[in-house]
């Protein structure tokens, strides 16, 4: 069977549904509605129209030769998901799930968010479709992504700062699941990544695979051939699955996922789930997981809120075990250097998440040499990260700060 045909609930030994019984009926309903919608021309036409006239798809590709000079001269091509409405790939998934919410007939949506990009996208779709919206965000993340909190509130969403556990994305998911268990009768959970219980890993992947489908055609028409390698950052893994999927059965195309190594994978402060974790169950799916010897989830660390997650989608775990995709660590420092380099050489400020993929591409280019073509998923833009970047690079003069 082609790798692209895998639809879950299991991806090899991974995936499934490790959830309270209270959620099974809602997951069954979502599965049924999605199975029907994904081949229903009326649904697909409506989604296509939103992609075209709301999000701004297809997103372009941009070749970045001045950046590529630092990558051993390999050709580097960016897939510009940063140019989507709301500033990242997250909108692709959210519009699809918001349409499904309407089909199911529920009036309220909830979502978790780390960097705030999925929360902003969900709040946006809720505004567009007239749905009530509550976003769960770890208290730590509401502090480092304050601008996105303001955006969500401006869009009419309620933002709940989660104070339990590590007060980051994993705890936001816990609280969103508790809300869903309680309010499932009228509430749909718009899950942001390719993790969670079935049908989320397959459904979110299906809603994001448009990234790779577009990019495959675009790179072919620009260069006359397929790329040698694809680079994407991996937290939960939705932008990576989105760009990998169209290439899964192109054996000559290498797929590389770059995980957040934080202070370094030799330290305890990282989020390299596939690199350093082992299989376990979290948030409804079996996959790789950062955990201690007792199976307690270990807190992850990354400068990038969107990658600061101790789990990863089950399809990535499967692809890693198969050897079809490779997963490498990128430190905070390397990611921030890549962020500055792309800004200075190309005039594009990437999200810190996506900067992990850029740092990976720099390393990859030096390995592959000047004949290589590397496609990088620029999954989001860096506007939200200016406070972090300003602090990191010491960009704001003391005297220039507003009091």
């Amino acid at each position: 069977m082609a790798l692209r045909d895998e639809t879950g609930p299991y991806f090899g030994a991974y995936g499934g549904r490790w959830v309270p019984e209270s959620l099974v009926a809602a997951l069954d309903e979502l599965t049924t509605v999605w199975e029907h919608a994904k081949t229903d021309p009326a649904f697909l036409d409506e989604l296509d129209e939103l992609h075209r006239s709301y999000t701004g798809r297809p997103s372009i590709i941009t070749e970045v030769p001045r950046f590529a000079e630092h990558a051993g001269g390999a050709r580097i091509i960016l897939k510009r998901e940063d140019l989507n409405h709301t500033g990242s790939h997250k909108i692709n998934n959210v519009l699809g799930q918001a349409l499904l919410t309407k089909r199911i007939g529920k009036r309220r949506v909830i979502a978790e968010t780390g960097a705030g990009q999925h929360g902003v996208a969900t709040a946006t779709a809720a505004a567009l479709f007239g749905l009530e919206c509550t976003i769960y965000m770890g208290e730590v993340d509401t502090e480092r992504q304050a601008l996105n909190v303001a955006r969500m509130r401006l869009l009419g969403a309620e933002v709940v700062a989660v104070t339990s556990g590590s007060r980051t994305l994993k705890d936001a998911i816990n609280d969103a699941m508790r809300d869903w268990v309680t309010n499932v009768e009228h509430t749909n959970y718009i899950f942001g990544t390719v993790a969670g219980p079935h049908p989320f890993p397959a459904m979110v992947r299906d809603l994001q695979k448009i990234i790779g489908e577009e990019a495959r055609e675009q790179v072919l028409s620009l260069t006359g051939r397929l790329p040698d390698a694809i680079a994407a950052c991996v937290g939960g893994g939705s932008n990576a699955m989105g760009i990998f999927h169209a290439f899964l059965d192109d054996e000559d195309v290498r797929l590389l996922g770059f995980e957040a190594a934080g202070d370094g994978i030799e330290t305890l402060r990282h989020a390299a789930t596939i690199g350093k974790g082992r299989p376990g169950v979290l948030h409804g799916a079996r996959s790789y997981l950062l955990q201690d010897e007792d199976g307690q989830t270990v807190e992850s660390h990354s400068i990038s809120a969107g990658l600061d997650y101790p789990g990863v989608g089950p399809e990535h775990a499967w692809l890693a075990d198969l050897g079809r995709a490779e997963y490498r660590p990128v430190t905070d420092t390397a990611a921030m250097e890549a962020l500055r380099l792309l800004s200075r050489t190309e005039g594009i400020i990437p999200a810190i998440e996506s900067s992990h993929a850029l740092a990976g591409a720099l390393e990859l280019g030096r390995e592959l040499g000047p004949e290589a073509i590397i496609l990088v998923n620029l999954s989001g833009r860096g506007d939200k990260d200016m406070t972090t970047a300003a602090r990191w690079f010491d960009l704001i003069d003391e005297g220039a700060e507003q009091s």
């Binding site: 959830v19 309270p20 019984e21 508790r178 268990v181 376990g280 307690q296």
Partner: protein, 271 residues
């Protein structure tokens, strides 16, 4: 997925099933009390469980703290987070079960989220539970669809296995849960997480009725139960009432003595 489990022969009822059957013959039911292990510390949590048994609680539900307890509300989250911060280790689970069963006759059911069990090894965990004298395990985030390993291990070690049923569960799922559970089915009274509620939902009565129609021999109701009156009402249609957050709050606020008093008060609901 899962293979059919061995048919449990007549007479192989576990301790909790036997207790329920005895009470039913007397026209009553059981009171199940939940406490987290290691809260406020390991020794006190064992004393607290014994105090439950001495004050009329029939079955102890013992929860090993877990980092991501998605079925638990704020009271139990706070207690288990504190227990983890104080150094709870998985092996304390078996020490606690042994410590309790050595001091009282109440059967002990461990209530564990699944990842710690899987990491320890399902077979090894079941063997350790049997060795420590546990009656079985309640699994809040393990559904029968994913429980193949647990069917085998629990049968092999003579452990009762309690799955949850929800008001939203389809008839087909209720039938599966009823068939796969040993001891009793945990009927979730309301759509939600643990924590005291003023009214235990009418949904609980309906769910227990549907569970019986689906073939469940024994059903106990939990989530939101906090008063003797609620216990009395539940035992009017179910085989047991399960109290958690209210007990944890009493222990947190007033120590083992206050816990014992609340247990005795709740147990009055069985009369």
């Amino acid at each position: 997925m899962s293979e059919p489990s061995a048919i449990v022969p007549e007479g192989a009822r576990g301790a909790v099933a036997r207790l329920i059957d005895e009470r039913r013959a007397q026209g009553s039911g059981i009171l199940v009390g939940y406490l987290p292990i290691g809260f406020p510390d390991l020794a006190t949590s064992i004393d607290a469980a014994v105090a439950l048994a001495e004050n009329g609680v029939d079955v102890i539900e013992l929860g090993p703290p877990y980092s991501d307890p998605v079925m638990d509300g704020p009271v139990i989250q706070a207690a288990t987070q504190q227990a983890l911060a104080n150094g709870f280790k998985l092996r304390h689970t078996f020490e606690a079960v042994r410590g309790i069963t050595e001091r009282c006759d109440a059967p002990v059911l461990v209530m564990s989220y699944w990842n710690p069990v899987q990491q320890y090894g399902v077979e090894r965990y079941a063997a350790a539970l049997e060795d420590a004298g546990a009656a079985g395990m309640i699994t809040p985030d393990l559904i029968p669809d994913e429980a193949g390993d647990w069917f085998e291990a629990s049968d092999r070690h003579g452990l009762e296995r309690v799955f949850l049923a929800a008001p939203s569960s389809s008839e087909a799922r209720l039938a599966t849960v009823a068939e796969r559970s040993r001891g009793f089915v945990y009927a979730v009274s309301t759509m939600g997480i643990t924590g005291a509620r003023a009214d235990v939902d009418a949904a609980a009565r309906g769910l227990v009725g549907r569970l019986r129609d689906a073939g469940a021999e024994r059903a106990c109701v939990g989530i939101g139960v906090s008063t003797a009156e609620q216990v009395r009402e539940i035992l009017g249609y179910a085989d047991g009432a399960i109290v958690g957050s209210a007990l944890v709050k009493a222990l947190a606020d007033g120590g083992v003595d206050a816990l014992g008093r609340l247990a005795a008060e709740l147990a009055a609901g069985k009369a």
